[in-house]
């Protein structure tokens, strides 16, 4: 390491241990996701009945935790200022809104058509 590098080495925190811990947590969460999927598709095993009903909510929660861990620790949002946190949070809010709005639109498409049809003459 040259002198410039040594000078800079003091300006950046050593977080390797923390990154590895987060990596292990991400690995375990992924294993839990796949495990939940396998249990939900194998009749007779423990938790099969529960996961047949709750698989999607369980997967959503696990992937949300993984998403948050990568964004906060690996993308350094935990240590970044409010502007960068705001840009990403606002984008995520819009993205979630787009997904939910489109799903609602298509799921209830038939119901909307039935409601609006008699008013507009379009069936």
């Amino acid at each position: 390491m040259d002198s410039t590098a040594q000078a800079h080495a003091h300006t950046f925190p050593e977080r390797a241990g923390e990154y590895v811990r987060i990596g292990l947590i991400l690995f375990v969460l992924t294993a839990l996701e796949v495990g939940a999927y396998e249990l939900a598709h194998r009749p007779g095993v423990p938790l099969h009945d529960f996961l047949q009903v709750w698989l999607i909510p369980v997967l959503i929660v696990l992937s949300a935790i993984k998403f948050a861990l990568v964004a906060l620790f690996y993308m350094h949002l935990k240590w970044d200022g409010p502007l960068l946190k705001g840009i990403f949070s606002f984008s995520l809010f819009l993205a979630t809104f787009v997904i939910l709005a489109l799903l609602a639109l298509f799921i209830y498409q038939g119901k909307f058509s039935a409601m609006i049809g008699p008013l507009t003459g379009v069936t």
């Binding site: 950046f12 959503i60 840009i87």
Partner: protein, 195 residues
């Protein structure tokens, strides 16, 4: 003194390029949200097969997912090494990241080829059209990320990425993490919630 003090002062206190990559990542969130929405809207609406449950190979994709997750760990360790001026750590972890990225692309190429031989194409049914569009665009992003990381690796070997220029690498690392978080959403939505 933090990393930003090494760069010209800006009105926001954040290097302009870092602000730009975060804004780009924000726009990409909306891009992938649209593709994921389309996949979800058409989920279970294919009139003819092959259907997802018939052709998905969950163990293979799980390995690809683990590789992408580990690559995120490796790239952040490489960035840590770059910032500390530890060239060996920087280049070593960066090489591991690139290898993981290449393996992931290989997994996707194998999967697409396998699906094609099973009769699934973009024109076959709604599942094929939405699946190939979503995962194809993600794979393209991974490929661009790998090319970007390879260019940083070459610069690093030449000694052109000192700690003072760690931001050049941090931008590609942020992009790589974003590609990873998109897959964190795609993996359960497409592969584990299939029907």
């Amino acid at each position: 003194m933090d990393a930003h003090a090494l760069h010209p002062a800006t009105s926001t206190g954040i290097p302009n390029r870092k602000l730009a990559i975060w804004t780009f990542i924000g726009s990409e969130c909306l891009f992938f949200a649209s593709l994921i929405s389309v996949y979800l809207v058409y989920r279970g609406k294919s009139l003819v097969g092959p259907y997802p449950a018939e052709i998905f190979e969950i163990p293979l994709v799980t390995v690809g997912t683990a590789l992408l997750l580990f690559s995120s760990l490796f790239v952040v360790l490489a960035l840590n090494g770059c910032e500390q001026g530890n060239r060996k750590k920087f280049l070593g972890w960066l090489a591991m990241t690139i290898l993981c990225g290449i393996f992931f692309i290989g997994m996707q190429v194998y999967e697409f080829t396998h699906f094609y031989h099973e009769g699934l194409t973009m024109q076959k049914n709604l599942f094929g059209a939405s699946f190939f569009t979503l995962t194809g665009f993600h794979g393209t992003h991974v490929t661009i990320g790998v090319i970007w990381l390879i260019s940083i690796f070459i610069e690093g070997v030449r000694g052109h990425v000192p700690p003072a220029k760690a931001l050049n690498f941090e931008m590609s690392a942020l992009y790589w993490h974003f590609v990873d978080v998109v897959w964190i959403v795609i993996f359960p939505v497409v592969y584990l919630m299939n029907k």
